[in-house]
């Protein structure tokens, strides 16, 4: 069949309406069915030309968008002439890997303490001839020196050797890890427990496991560094409230609720982040009020009890027990094994959902080797001791000691020193009295005033060491004023004010603590002679705001 004859009837028909060039019709004729298709188009055109035009344009537009390559902004590298680029490469001169030591950093280095024996009540410090009374080790109940603990460690070493040689997921789950998790869950009366191999990685992993970009965290300004890192890693929106200020917390929660109403937001995960006993202040969180607010506004609660465990609460479960708060009220309860439990690591207790999720998403759990087995048996043994002795002996003893210490500071150091801690807290922060403080508010301290005040404090602790009492200045990472630190989209809250930190244990007795405070007062009076009477004048340098990138 010839092409012309096949095209004949249709072509005649079409020419009536619109002109179709001959070569098109003859070409179409070679494709089977094409003619019918052309007819169909022409019919469409006849019936509703506007419709056809609009639709064709739309189809073409969609095709254009689909086929268009993503418009690539030409980068600087491509636009720069090669010679200029080469010059930039040649001229690039990086800053040194680490900046020169600042004054604050040098003080931390020079003030380091080297222990020559075990960190027991009396210990031997390098450079001091006699033994010193240890008020630094956070082994609040003195478990680290107990025979039972040493026996547990020894037996575990004999049975398991030292390391576990693998993460929990990959044959690093030794039976004693599982036992410890059961012991902790039983102790706290929760469904389950997850043990991390380091205390600080617990909060750092637990927060980002549950809170992500779309979620919201309301955080106390004074939380410790591990929590700040966790908050930062979570990428959540962060709001800070003033330290232990419940009105401010209520204000923040109220503000969020109003925002909700205005923006008609979909539900997001929201946590109030607090510490039971603040590491940096030694004061107690008013947890009953926090829980009240949490329930009122339907938030969740993250609680870090690292420094209150074994000390607060009738059976040593921490500040939550002290306030009589049910464990079910606390969604994420993390604590440390390296304080009262005289071991290494951290843990999170809670519902099965909370724990099982962290086993997959807690980065510090999933991607780190598990702790050596003997560490777990030590912690298990510590729980046994705590269960049998806390209520009757240890908790009252440590509480009494803490109160003795605080009372002695108030009585003996009147006018020179103040404590900022809770009178029952085994972790006591002692500051210079307001008349010697170089700034009023933590936020008012800059690098120079902080260093000047810390210098006096370090002089005090140094003299105390020589006099036979070991206490240390609370160390913080002091960055130059020019560095602006951020958390989420906020400025990072100011560092806590300079202080000397004491760890009071159940092992100390009244005489020792009184003597320690007497030494503290004596050394303070000596050191205050060199204390600057007013804040040093800081040379104001232009501040560089470094943009936070993710």
């Amino acid at each position: 069949m010839s092409a012309a004859s096949a095209a004949e009837p249709g072509a005649e028909d079409l020419t009536l309406s619109i002109h179709v060039p001959h070569f098109v019709t003859s070409m179409l004729a070679q494709i089977p069915g094409a003619n019918e298709y052309l007819k169909w188009w022409i019919n469409l055109w006849r019936e509703n030309p506007v419709h056809l035009l609009v639709e064709t344009t739309l189809i073409l537009l969609i095709l254009y968008i689909l086929l268009q390559r993503p418009s690539k902004k030409r980068s600087k590298m491509e636009t720069l002439p090669a010679a200029v680029a080469q010059e930039l490469l040649n001229e690039y001169e990086p800053e040194p890997l680490c900046p020169p030591l600042t004054e604050g950093a040098r003080m931390v280095l020079e003030d380091s303490v080297l222990l020559e024996t075990k960190p027991s009540k009396y210990t031997k410090v390098s450079g001091v001839d006699k033994e010193v009374l240890n008020l630094t080790t956070m082994d609040f109940l003195g478990f680290g020196q107990r025979k039972e603990i040493h026996k547990a460690a020894e037996d575990a070493l004999n049975k398991y050797g030292c390391g576990s040689c693998g993460p929990r997921g990959f044959y690093g789950s030794i039976d004693v890890h599982v036992f410890l998790e059961k012991d902790l869950a039983n102790f706290f009366g929760t469904d389950d427990c997850i043990v991390y191999s380091d205390a600080d990685s617990t909060a750092t992993s637990a927060i980002p496991a549950f809170s992500n970009r779309s979620d919201l965290l309301v955080v106390d300004e004074a939380v410790n560094d591990a929590i700040i890192t966790g908050v930062n890693l979570s990428r959540s929106r962060v709001l800070f409230f003033k330290h232990n200020d419940m009105e401010d917390l209520a204000r923040v929660l109220q503000k969020v609720e109003e925002e909700d109403r205005r923006l008609k937001r979909k539900p997001q995960r929201r946590f109030i982040v607090v510490e039971g006993l603040y590491r940096n202040y030694g004061d107690v969180c008013p947890l009953d009020e926090v829980v009240g607010l949490k329930n009122k506004y339907r938030w969740r609660l993250f609680l870090d009890e690292s420094h209150s465990i074994g000390v607060f609460g009738a059976s040593g479960k921490g500040v939550a027990e002290h306030f009589g708060i049910e464990m079910s009220e606390i969604d994420l309860f993390v604590s440390s094994l390296s304080t009262t439990f005289a071991s290494v690591g951290g843990f999170c207790v809670g519902s099965r959902e909370v724990v099982e999720h962290q086993r997959l998403s807690g980065a510090g759990y999933c991607f780190s080797a598990s702790s050596p087995p003997f560490v777990s048996t030590v912690a298990s043994q510590a729980i046994k001791l705590l269960t049998s002795e806390a209520r009757s002996k240890l908790a009252p003893a440590v509480k009494k000691n803490a109160q003795t210490f605080h009372a002695a500071v108030r009585k003996l150091a009147d006018g020179d020193l103040v404590t900022v801690s809770n009178p029952s807290s085994a972790l006591a922060h002692v500051r210079l009295a307001p008349k010697y403080q170089l700034a009023e508010d933590p936020a008012d301290y800059d690098e120079a005033t902080r260093c000047a005040e810390e210098k006096t404090l370090r002089a005090i602790t140094k003299k105390m060491r020589e006099e036979g009492v070991l206490a240390t200045v609370a160390n913080y990472i002091i960055l130059p004023d020019t560095v602006k630190q951020v958390v989420g989209s906020n400025k990072r809250p100011p560092l806590p004010p300079p202080s000397i930190r004491f760890a009071i244990t159940a092992l100390h007795d009244e005489d020792e603590l009184t003597r320690a405070v007497q030494t503290l007062v004596k050394c303070t009076r000596e050191a205050l002679k060199d204390h600057p009477s007013e804040a040093p004048v800081t040379v104001s340098t232009p501040s560089i705001t470094l943009r936070k990138r993710h």
Partner: protein, 499 residues
């Protein structure tokens, strides 16, 4: 083992045939489809073992876990393979390991141990130098001594009262061993990366990180606030391109005036733990030097396992330790301990001692563990007056190469380089993870299988970790068993596209 998607597979793993690719994705689709179907069924009828999870609790509150993300994954994927991970063991992680048998709990969701154990050949633990096997003879005495002398833990940060003689000694030994002027030690290897990177990089810095770097490095980079650019895994050309581009463009946007990075840090690992590949350090260091970048090498798996005298990837690739700015490593593998170290210039170490959260806030390494690591170092470097260290380093190399060659002969798609004690074999299919693991356990082989999220969804693999304590006979038996498993499961991908 970075998390999540967007990752690139090492070159060997790309040898996946079309057939494998299609069936792998199909497998994942089936898992998701039926998972969602069962969720739907459970929600409507309430007949599901997960009904407590499926029914909403608070109307106003967002669920704690994303119902279509984490919760779905745990319910429909992890649940089906949970017996292959987190297997509890009893006793030491030596050449033979007692794996505890598990059965499903009454609630039908979790596993519980039955009380029985099964002795398996351990091809999963990082017991590279075999210290877990003869711990009493090699390390026991010293470690017990340290326990008596220092107690089990320090309960204090290093900058407070957490530094003991044994810590100082260990720092010096580490520095001498790796060939750097000074070193600091941390109580956790993961934290070493996560806390040190923020101390050296800030918002004006750039970290150029290998795409397959460990999560700890990734999180350290994120916590530092520095800009992070990933380069193609172990690809020096791409690294150089990235570095050039970064220097030329600076840190401003295209329309801003030129602002150079205050420093550029290239972060790589010595041996990549999920790929078994050894880093091309020579070339990377050359690029770094050419463009004045700093180098950060994570030797978690290579220190004490690679190189003639166990000094890690520097020794293996012929790079002088002076050429690398920051050497990081962990003690939980070859040294049978725990924790990590950073070695570098004296200025860097002083900086870290006074500025790093790991020094100022975290509790220090347990003195008992520090003594363990110290003893292991003495043995490895031959200071104990024996040949044990040298022999073990030779043994692990021989074992790794023998095993790798054996697997290749079977026809498995083996990743990684010779001499690396980490030997991964590609499985590709998600479903083959559990099949391989269970088959191996039935044949008394304890192996590590890896699936998402540690590797990409389509990058499932089994990973063998060799030890100096494995005998040739152990490995021959294991290879024979694996050959049968490989035949049954169809993972001999180098023989045929169909496995």
């Amino acid at each position: 083992m970075g998390k999540g998607g967007g990752r690139e597979l090492p070159h060997d793993a790309e040898d996946q045939s079309i057939f494998t690719a299609i069936t792998t994705y199909l497998g994942i689709a089936v898992i998701f489809f039926f998972g969602r179907l069962r969720d739907k069924f459970g929600t409507i009828t309430g007949r599901s073992r997960f009904r407590d999870e499926l029914l909403p609790k608070h109307a106003n509150e967002a669920p704690l876990l994303d119902p279509y993300g984490a919760a779905f994954y745990a319910r429909r994927i992890k649940f089906r393979v949970q017996d292959c991970f987190f297997r509890p063991v009893r006793g030491r992680p030596g050449t033979y390991i007692d794996v505890m048998k598990q059965t499903i709990d009454e609630d039908g969701i979790r596993l519980k141990t039955t009380g029985e154990v099964q002795a398996c050949l351990n091809l999963g633990s990082y017991n590279y130098l075999g210290f877990a096997d003869d711990w009493d003879a090699t390390c026991g005495e010293c470690v017990h001594g340290a326990l008596r002398k220092y107690g089990p833990a320090s309960c204090s940060a290093q900058s407070d009262a957490g530094t003991m003689n044994v810590h100082r000694k260990l720092e010096q030994v580490v520095a001498d061993f790796v060939g750097k002027p000074a070193a600091v030690i941390f109580s956790m290897g993961y934290n070493t990366n996560q806390l040190v990177l923020p101390a050296i990089a800030n918002a004006g810095s750039l970290i150029i990180s290998d795409k397959l770097n460990h999560v700890s490095i990734v999180n350290g980079c994120r916590a530092s606030g520095a800009k992070v650019i990933a380069f193609k895994h172990n690809n020096v050309d791409d690294l150089e391109r990235t570095v050039r581009k970064a220097i030329i463009e600076g840190r401003g946007e295209a329309d801003e005036p030129y602002q150079p990075w205050n420093k550029i840090i290239i972060a790589v690992e010595g041996i990549y733990s999920m790929e078994g590949e050894i880093c091309d350090l020579r070339a990377i260091v050359d690029v770094a030097k050419k463009y004045k970048c700093y180098t950060y090498v994570d030797e978690a798996h290579s220190i004490g396992a690679l190189g003639k005298t166990g000094r890690g990837v520097c020794e293996h690739t012929g790079v002088s330790p002076d050429e690398v700015d920051i050497l990081m490593g962990t003690f939980s593998k070859s040294f049978n301990g725990m924790g990590g170290y950073i070695a570098g210039s004296r200025e860097l170490i002083d900086h870290l001692r006074s500025r790093c959260a790991g020094m100022l806030y975290s509790s220090s390494l347990s003195p008992v563990v520090a003594e363990q690591v110290l003893t292991a170092f003495r043995i490895i470097s031959g200071e104990d007056g024996t040949d044990i260290g040298r022999e073990r380093l030779q043994a692990i190399k021989d074992n790794a190469n023998y095993f790798r060659a054996g697997l290749k002969e079977i026809g498995c798609s083996v990743l990684g380089d010779d001499d690396s004690p980490v030997v991964p074999v590609m499985l590709f299919h998600y479903a083959k993870i559990s099949a391989f693991s269970r088959e191996a356990l039935a044949r008394r082989l304890a192996v590590v299988v890896v699936g998402a999220p540690a590797v990409p969804l389509y990058g499932s693999r089994v990973r063998f970790c060799l030890s100096a304590a494995h005998t040739r006979e152990d490995l021959s038996i294991a290879l024979a068993e694996i050959a049968e498993i490989a035949r049954d499961l169809g993972i001999r991908y180098t023989r045929s596209a169909f496995g």
